[in-house]
Symmetry: C2
Subunit: 481 residues, 2 copies
């Protein structure tokens, strides 16, 4: 079961601020409206009495949106084919998925197009590390596979190389339907996955204030099947939203809530996640920035806002804009990931492997990020403070000016007493030099190679696997690839 963050939430918005933001999103949805580029979606809203202008623009009664949003569950399970890996989404739970959507990979000093081999390797790494609850979905783009059918290859790899929950194709309604069909095969039928959802879909808004037809097609498919979607406004301030955090927050509320309302019209009570992908443009280079102060603030606010609507939320990750796995990659990643824990994010995408603004899935960065996750999960565990933990006996034993290394209290506990790093080194300089003087990135390369060497494919029923393979072969042929 997924990690529970029982530490306090760090909330920075006052009641006044929340009230101002509340006015803001209401004004946007009612006065400006939101465009839905799929007629079926528009029809749902028209039928429910909302105002439709032209073919696509829907203007909302904010109270109507809130009524729909209230139908969504506050928390839900996302089942894995290995029940031990089923995750709970919402409440104090936090679940972590790998990087998603990168066309390139970086391995050491090489940066190149991602391939299906990379996809499979990164899924294996996601399976191997218990810090991750899910490989996510498009962990990198398998550019060596045909575009029209590669979603089948990806879902098959996610299903067979890992036994954790996964994310499905969202590139179109039919691709989502393929994902759902394969998920039905894996979990034993439609009823099994309608009862407990088994695949998650990432629905990005074409911000500002527009949902495109392909993403909406996928949203409709997943929601009809009772599978959760993450409705995620895609907001780089200065490009897709104004150069103002409050303005961006209200836009995020307007877009996410409008999309969530649609899911509840399609299937009341369907699981859904309030999504956030919020950073800013570097106004000097015109490129996206990640791990910025603005994104950290936005993240803390997003948690507080999503909770106020009683919705599980997605945000955070190990985001950064760095071109290589250097100090910047690390501090930007942590500048996002630590606030992710402070906010108590329920579903964290891009938790491992993200580099270069999300263009690159990086093997070494994957390991750096796993170390960050391990440290933060350890850190965000409430301290037990009781008589025993005060260890007065140890103080009596050692006395003034003594040393605790050889104390009985220490000897009884030294294996378990502290966090043990996966990657970080405390070797003294001489020893470190003798051992090759490897920096963290070089050591990370050793870690992922060794992890892949020891990877064990989780068992799967051969009949089910064969059915999945048949489905992929049949559909690939139908798609002409």
């Amino acid at each position: 079961m997924s990690y529970v963050n029982s530490m306090p939430r760090y909330e920075i918005l006052s009641e006044d601020a929340m009230a101002t933001l509340d006015k803001g999103w209401r004004r946007i949805v009612s006065e400006l409206g939101v465009e839905f580029l799929l007629p079926e979606a528009v029809e749902y809203f028209r039928a429910a009495g909302q105002t439709v202008e032209g073919e696509n623009l829907v203007k909302f009664d904010p109270e109507f949106i809130l009524e729909q949003v209230a139908k969504a569950p506050r928390e839900f399970d996302l089942q894995a084919r290995n029940p031990a890996h089923t995750v709970h989404v919402g409440g104090d739970h936090m679940a972590f998925a790998s990087v998603y959507g990168c066309p390139f990979v970086r391995v050491g000093d090489e940066r190149r197009d991602a391939t299906m081999d990379d996809f499979e390797n990164l899924v294996r790494l996601s399976q191997a590390f218990p810090e991750l609850d899910s490989p996510g979905g498009t962990i990198c783009e398998p550019n060596d596979r045909p575009l029209d059918s590669r979603h089948l290859d990806m879902v098959y790899a996610l299903q067979t190389l890992s036994d954790k929950p996964y994310m499905g194709s969202v590139t179109s309604g039919p691709n989502a339907a393929d994902t759902i069909a394969m998920t039905e095969i894996l979990f034993g039928g439609r009823e099994a996955i309608e009862r407990t959802p088994a695949v998650m879909g990432l629905i990005n808004v074409n911000s500002p204030l527009r949902f495109d037809d392909r993403m909406l097609g996928a949203l409709v498919e997943y929601t009809k099947a009772n599978q959760p979607v993450i409705v995620t406004p895609f907001l780089l301030m200065g490009a897709m939203s104004p150069v103002s955090i409050p303005a961006t927050l209200v836009q995020q509320m307007a877009e996410a809530l409008a999309g969530i309302a649609l899911t509840q019209l399609i299937r009341p009570g369907a699981p859904v996640v309030f999504g956030s992908f919020l950073s800013n443009t570097d106004m000097q280079s015109g490129s996206p920035s990640f791990g910025t102060p603005e994104s950290a603030i936005g993240l803390l606010c997003t948690g507080q806002i999503a909770r106020s609507f009683g919705l599980p939320f997605r945000s955070g990750g190990a985001l950064n804009a760095s071109q290589t796995v250097d100090a910047q990659a690390a501090y930007e990643a942590l500048m996002t990931m630590l606030p992710t824990f402070l906010a108590g994010t329920n579903w964290v995408m891009h938790s491992a492997g993200w580099l270069e603004g999300g263009l690159v899935s990086c093997y070494e960065k994957f390991i750096v990020d796993i170390e960050l996750l391990r440290m933060l999960k350890y850190e965000f565990t409430p301290l037990e403070i009781d008589e025993e933990s005060l260890a007065f006996g140890a103080h009596e034993e050692v006395g003034a000016g003594g040393h605790f290394l050889g104390a009985m209290h220490t000897l009884e506990r030294f294996r378990e007493c502290f966090y043990r790093p996966l990657l970080s080194s405390t070797e003294n300089f001489d020893r470190w030099t003798r051992n090759g003087g490897l920096d963290a990135t070089a050591r990370a390369a050793n870690v992922w190679r060794e992890t892949l060497e020891h990877y064990e494919r989780p068992e799967i029923d051969e009949g089910v696997r064969a059915q999945l393979e048949e489905y992929v072969i049949r559909r690939r042929a139908e798609l002409g690839d």
Copy 2:
């Protein structure tokens, strides 16, 4: 004036936990006691009615300690010779000083003994960056100067190459007296610095439960002159304290409060700071670890504890155990520095330049840390959320599916709207490669070199400078160097 952190404090200790910790330190000071290896210190306590066993061990009535602690000011100013650089210590103020105490320096790939030239360069960098409130004191050890008189060289460099507040020598009572004498010269006499303190002393406890004679000698000198000391238990769990965070916290309280009580016996109302240097030993390598989950938890607790006694506190910094300026150096530094802001630490040592567990002052790490400070100060600034910040006009202007880059709202604000990095790069891969493919550490080298090139020595009255120089020359001769 120093930075004010108006964001909420992140407090993780319940009332019950605080009560348990309170019992813990009381038991240590009353049943085990604390050793003071300076007869003068013991006499203060004996005269005040505390129990002395043998020559050095003092057993306390905890209420007596609290009565003394209550005499210390909650906040105070530390004046700079440039009044614009005077800092306020306590309350919501945070002041940042450079790395302190390193025998080695690292420049690029070279690691070597630190010299007086390094000392001066690092003071110049501390002066140049407004993110730092103080160069600190022993920013590195000037190993090429005679041991007995190098404190004079250091104080002279701090006083003349910077016009920010500085930290003085604590290696002995006489060296502290030299520091105070030179501070009197710089600020126009004893009365001027007794009125508003002008130099800070770092008094480390020889933990567990022992103050050595040299540090106590310095504590006595500074306190008599009404200059603040930071009473800092030096706690690496597993070596100087038990392998338990709660046990270490109560030891820290016992040691710090006992030392602070001494200052208030020497001079009631003298400014003093509750110090914390708390991390853990890597039980596998036996080396100190920094930037660990344990140290972050300890830091958050320390802030809450110090506030409960009404004392300004010192903790945090850009600590790490890494041997080089890599991903580990960055994430460990931020893993300490972000909690430093969450805790609202009043005086932050080791804010820039710390590497390799504090053995190394590193030029490139200095710049990485400055970037972290800049980002965090920006991040820990309350968001203004009002009608104007909602920028509804921008949403009206751009509409659904548009782009904000060319919007009037953006054009009017693009220069000021976001954090502008000093070091971080968002260049796309092609451009970054064309520009040499420099990682953050290589770029940091360019930043510090350029900063030193543009450094301007702050003006100083030539008569005062000559007096300081005379003092150094005379005392150096007296010390036989």
